[in-house]
Subunit: 669 residues, 3 copies
């Protein structure tokens, strides 16, 4: 039986990627000593070590890795041991060119950076199996190994492959899915533009076309590639589970990452981990907060690890701003506040050579122990030691936002009424309202249970699959409150239109129909009138015909002025609200303020602007996080007469707490 | 003998593309019923039906099409039957990959959207011949079939092919044209950059070059591809003429479409038809009006059909604005006003699947008969029934603008003094003056007869071919008025410079020479002084030396201030005017107002701004069109004491007519 | 022994590229006559004549070229005879496709423009050898031939090739350089991202990668291609030297040209020549001045030729502004003022056909002798005849700017802290201060002798190679003044970090260390406070820790406010100044004004703004150049009581000189 994460790591994990193969042995002991000093308790090793472990086909050299693991263990540092499959060695693609991924034009990617393999290469999978089996066998009993880190940031550079082998795999996948070519023709709507297929071998990739692709085909290609890459992961996992059944496994996710359906992937991970690189230009990292909440939601609220962040600045943006003093610590605590039990970095020691040598690290190029960056790392690492009892604590949310990768893929396919809409931007817009009110939010797939939530929001849920509308109707019928925004409920899982009047699967629930769409030009704005107030809207207007719903706002301009823009409908014991346009933030804030009051959902505390508050609970204890994103101090009133303990300073606190600019407090009560 | 269009369709044609193969049979009867209700009298069928007609090579299934044609005929709806060749089936390219077009990098286009064939593939042409022969034979006597709709929007996505077979065809085309390689070397100026060829097989496409191409070669490549595609059309036409000698044939043109020389194509069409999709952002669609006038001019003023427009919004722009209530009707009448005898749509029923499912249609996704879109369609279809006696009426213009596809190709080749000039923008600029004055304009090729016209304008006629300058000189000598704008008369048909001082072939006629060109930077403006007024000019200044011409405006700034910008010259019995810069609209309006007064060319009526007026005449009757593009009502004074009949309302009208916003009147007198 | 340039051309060279093969014979004599009239004494012939010289493989036709050379010689016009290798003929690539360069996607460039050959093709090199041998043999004794013009603008369109033959050559080059694969692995840092190679055949080009390349590999690829192209040049040179040991040879360089390390190339040229096409939009062409100074510096101050400029406007920009009256003359004298002994044009007669027919020339399309362009050419050509005694005169500079092509390559590789920095812009910024003060500046490579200079500036010298830091330290130790700007001294010649605290190789010399970099966002500015003044800085801030240096300016904003931005340090007998940010021009002007005063470096004269002053000296004479870039006249005070001779007017001048707008004076004293 696989051990729990808390079992193998009963602390807030702190550390980073460690690449000792880039350094000579004399550096290794110094590294271990510095890690101890900095409070490091976990490092990821061997992520990019394939070529130094298996130097030639079948010739494995583990001596150096044995030594590293022994040194780390003797210094009390745990290891998330990588399977080393992230970047295949030159000898592999040199001997077997078929492992290389292929571009739409037919040319092959080459060795020289990383991740150049085709996810559909059987030869590659074979080599992966061999390497992982060797790794697992070698280190199954090494006491330093706490977890397995499978591969690295799957698909981050290469989520598509157009090789002949991939084409055969795509055809096989389609055949497995649709069984008969007639079914495929129907499901792809090939009567359009004379695209009918007689057999599977006539099917090609949806690229190299003179004009628009078949959207059903493109959607299936995205599903196929997601599953092909998922299959790589599952293959590794199976081997590891077989040889080391008690060691937890994971891979590290990314943020705003469209190609992989992480809800599905998370089912096969023992721990959700992700890599976060918000641009400091953003100021208050509310997007970063949303990703935390999403990652926490992937496995039903289980704590996750932030597997990579940077201490200072990255090197892959056009201009790489550096985090100001205190920001790295502050943002790290945002991770913990929103459900993270691990705060890790890429990477331990800043590289001397290669493409990422200007990417910040825990130990900078100078190795100077007085450098600002290292000092901040050391402070944080030692502080986090005080939070052992927080490990495993949960977040309780009464609000959920629907989020669906397949909807993301579908709604951003070409050929829509408005082709500059961004699904993420729509989700951000709704999330932001709650972030700024310090109301906890979970994310749910449309088919997941909604019972826990008093309020559910479905921003631009274009794709509604079989069964989902009944599921959502039941939620409202039983008393839930649902908010649906424009361009929802339009297409089925094949990206075919739900006929019968938009949004057909939600018409009953919403009490209306949308007669037509009126997208707005880039610089176009309209206004809605609601409760005597006029507020800006843009991007889109639905021309709504009411079928029971009541208008709560009307358009004031253009030919549809006076027509309803936003409606409310009492359905069963619940309420459904439809937002047939894109309102500015002020309207959404007002709308949801009212709803939250009605539903009696409140934030833990009232705080000044840009103070992030979050709560985690264990069976015994309640932890309150206060993060001051301002440069200046703020004062927060606490619950009258109640006594709190500051987890970081061990002080007793009551009445109020004063937080310096960029400072953090964690109060227990 | 082929029947006339009026013979086969004695009404204003109304209908659209009809793709029943995308729907089950139960929908077909409903479609026919709705078509009747909406006043549809013509539909285009089978445009994208190859793969359901010829399901496998040589196996034809006409049963469904028989049934459709019978249903339509029994409901009194005529058919423009397509030859179904627009999108070849998957089995064809799967079996014969050589039918696929090839990109410059050598990779092949693939099946999965449409129009992926190489125009130079003999194998493709062979399959086309077979299909068209079967279609024509099958339906030669079907009473529903009024016309043949050949292929669809030739070259709209794919006007170039770089296959080996295309290369052989290009070499053969060159050999046929130039006979000897020495001639080609001379005509292409291959002494430049050591490009001399010893034989035809050394010649390649003008792509994959390290730097600028040979412009003569590129121009020939454009000619070659135009003719290769034209050959596809002519091959189909010949078969149809052979089997059905009395049925008219056409293909549907596009707007602003550079690759095909429609003046040449029109000679082989029995009816000019075109597809129009103006962006509603534009407001008043004057470009759309210009295309109408161009299309009418292609066959010497014969009425044309608008073969495709959209009821509401398209789906292939970044943001697809929808036509406001009334606009679709208004713009449809612009078609009729400017010489159109057909108002058709893409498409009848909005698709459920595929790349165009969000493209508007006559029957929307909801099938709701109360939907705004269907209501407007039905109103228009039934109104148009009142205009039978208009069919075949002509437009009489005294003004012509020279327009030449080969000039378009040449003047926009790279390596010019100013490489951001747009030929169409230059033409628009001159056209717009007349559009706003409601003066009818024809378009003519430089070698066409100019006898009918009192005023001819040649905007940026960079290329003057052998014989054309004499032809143009004669026009002025005999009393015509000619206006020529900058960068005209520079190159011959090989894009070689006419030596001897710009613009050599027009110097005599214009009474001047241009010593040099002074292009202006993006944000640069200059001014001209004319009759004491100062007016803005930009883009370009010619440094003019007068050789008889009189200056009518001078530049006021930069080193050439005081030098002539615009000149006038009495030549023979006529006048030639040269515009050596790019004046703002106000100057052109003033210049042409004066010329029109002198030449006694007047608009049918004086109207408020944004009211479009046009006139069509038959032997018996004069039809006056008034189109109010404003949102508010306008009043138009009619000829004192004259009685008019409103064709749409059958009312008798005199003195004045009041038009609501977006409304239309057609008066007969 | 090769003759000196002065020996073969004792005048200021004046003329241009001459392509008689594009014209019929009757034009040739007219050309020679006009050349005489215009003062032409040198033309470049046969640059693009391969296909008319060697019409088929091994069949040479020199008859036409014999005739041309005879005509030119009989008119007293010298010839820089090209080796004709710039654009290979169609028969060559047709017969031997392996001579064609290859793109990253594997497709081949094609014949049809120019320079389509692979620099690594042995077959191409073989054909070059044959042609050059024939040319040299044929014309070794022709009296018109003054110099050899090898090829043309090497690599201007094609500085990269990805053919299989190039790959083999790259691998061989690497093997020759590194000897063992272990050394390569170390020097490329292949432990990063598992990039370790077992043997040379596993290495590929740094393209077609899923993400960032290995910077050490990319740097070597740039070196390899530079050297491969250099090898083409040297091969030609060797043949010419062998057959015509006394005739000087050169190739023509370009401006702002990154791919070729011209410092290295210049060692193999008997004369530095370059092609200059400043955009007239720039106004005062200070960049053009900097290129002149750089070109003069390439061969230790030897006079260079401006081999190509345009009389009026080019045709390859988007919009090609024309030089105003007087500008062509003025800018030509800037060439002479800064050390040029030749003023040449592309080209003599404006082409009638081909890609460059709208590129200005000495004789325009009209052939009109009254045209402005020809008139200005004639005036200049005849004026320059008065400057024979200037030929060979030198420029004396006390200030040098370090410039290094390898640094250029390295600092602009991807993955830096700030990826929008331009090396040239940094250099321009420092150069401009001296240009505006009319202080002469040389350019030096970091490893060249600095003894002549009182002040040396190293802008963004990111790469410091072995030995260079000691060399630079010695310069300061011995009394020199050195200014170093931010992001200098960071990497070694492999683009590996110099560990030990930035900028490790310069820390001793500068008396400080940089703890971290803080790049600024696009719109971000900061301020420095210096001597009570506040001045803007942007782009970058170094976080400096002083180790002996004294701060002379501090930042005033952001989290590092109060920290030093600019420092000064007394080192040995000299001074080192560090600029840890990007100051606006005003600060640099103030800083260097102070330094120049301290170092007693003065301009020849104080002049009004936009008057360029420069000085050249021979053993006997001092020449002062005054160039008025203003449109209005200026007055310049001369040295009290001193007598000058105007070289262009032969007048005696004292006290002051008045220069008309765009006018030039050359005074001798």
């Amino acid at each position: 039986m696989v051990k729990s994460i808390k079992e193998v790591m009963p602390h807030i994990a702190f550390g980073g990627d460690y690449n000792p193969e880039q350094w000579s042995e004399e550096v290794w002991l110094e590294d271990a000593r510095l890690m101890q000093e900095a409070g490091v308790n976990l490092v990821s090793v061997a992520i990019f070590s394939w070529s130094v472990i298996e130097k030639k086909e079948g010739q494995f050299d583990f001596a150096w890795l044995d030594k590293i693991l022994d040194i780390l263990h003797s210094h009390g540092i745990g290891v998330a041991l990588a399977t080393a499959t992230a970047s295949p060695p030159a000898w592999l693609s040199s001997k077997y060119p078929e492992v290389l991924a292929v571009k739409p034009d037919g040319s092959r990617y080459q060795v020289g950076s990383r991740q150049h393999y085709s996810p559909n290469s059987k030869r590659f999978l074979e080599s992966v199996r061999k390497l992982v089996t060797e790794m697992a066998t070698r280190y199954q009993d090494h006491p330093a190994v706490k977890m397995w880190h499978i591969n690295n940031e799957y698909a981050c550079h290469l989520a598509e492959c157009y090789s002949e082998e991939s084409l055969q795999a795509f055809r096989k996948w389609l055949k497995d899915k649709y069984q008969t070519i007639d079914t495929l023709n129907r499901k792809w709507g090939t009567a359009f533009w004379s695209q009918r297929y007689n057999n599977w071998d006539e099917i090609h990739f949806p690229v190299n076309l003179p004009t628009f692709y078949n959207p059903s085909q493109m959607l299936d290609y995205k599903r196929f590639m997601d599953q092909a890459i998922f299959n790589l992961y599952k293959t590794e996992k199976e081997i590891l589970r077989e040889i080391t059944p008690d060691i937890p496994v994971f891979t590290n996710f990314m943020y705003e990452f469209k190609p992989l359906d992480y809800f599905e992937w998370a089912k096969e991970l023992d721990l959700v981990t992700w890599d976060s690189y918000p641009d400091p230009r953003e100021g208050t990292p509310f997007r970063h907060a949303m990703h935390h909440d999403l990652m926490r939601s992937l496995k039903d609220g289980a704590p996750f690890y932030l597997m990579e962040q940077v201490t200072s600045h990255v090197n892959w943006r056009d201009i790489n701003l550096t985090k100001k003093p205190g920001e790295m610590r502050l943002w790290s605590y945002s991770t913990v506040a929103r459900g993270g039990d691990g705060v890790m970095y890429f990477q331990w020691r800043q590289g001397r050579a290669g493409a990422e040598k200007f990417h910040g690290a825990m130990v900078p190029h100078s190795s100077n122990p007085e450098s600002r960056v290292y000092q901040e790392v050391k402070q944080l690492g030692n502080e986090l030691k005080k939070l052992d009892r927080l490990v495993g604590a949960k977040t309780k949310a009464k609000v959920a936002i629907m989020f669906d990768w397949e909807n993301w893929w579908a709604v951003e396919l070409e050929g829509k009424p408005h082709n500059k809409l961004s699904y993420l931007d729509q989700v951000y817009q709704y999330y932001k309202v709650f972030y700024e009110k310090n109301i906890a939010v979970d994310f749910v797939k449309p088919d997941m249970s909604l019972d826990k939530y008093d309020l559910v929001i479905a921003p631009m849920l274009y794709m509604i699959k079989d069964g989902e509308s009944a599921h959502i109707e039941n939620y409202v019928k039983d008393g839930g409150t649902l908010v649906v925004s424009f361009f929802s409920g339009i297409a089925d899982e094949q990206d075919h239109i739900h006929l019968g009047g938009y949004p057909a699967p939600l018409r009953n629930l919403l009490g209306l129909t949308v007669d037509e769409f009126a997208p707005m030009a880039d610089d176009e704005v309209n206004e809605i009138l609601t409760n005597g107030q006029r507020m800006k809207v843009n991007l889109w207007a639905d021309i709504i015909k009411l079928e029971g719903a009541k208008p709560i706002a009307h358009f004031t301009q253009n030919w549809y002025k006076g027509k309803p823009a936003i409606t409310s409908y009492r359905y069963g014991k619940g309420t459904s609200i439809y937002i047939g346009t894109n309102p500015a933030d002020d309207y959404l804030t007002e709308l949801f303020s009212g709803l939250l009051t009605q539903l009696k959902i409140t934030a833990p505390f009232n705080t000044p602007p840009k103070v992030e508050v979050a709560e985690r609970v264990t069976g015994e204890e309640r932890f309150l996080f206060f993060l001051n994103h301002n440069d200046d101090p703020v004062t927060i009133k606490l619950e009258k007469g109640k006594m709190y303990t500051s987890c970081l300073t061990d002080e007793e606190i009551s009445e109020e707490i004063v937080l310096e600019g960029k400072d953090v407090a964690i109060l227990s009560c």
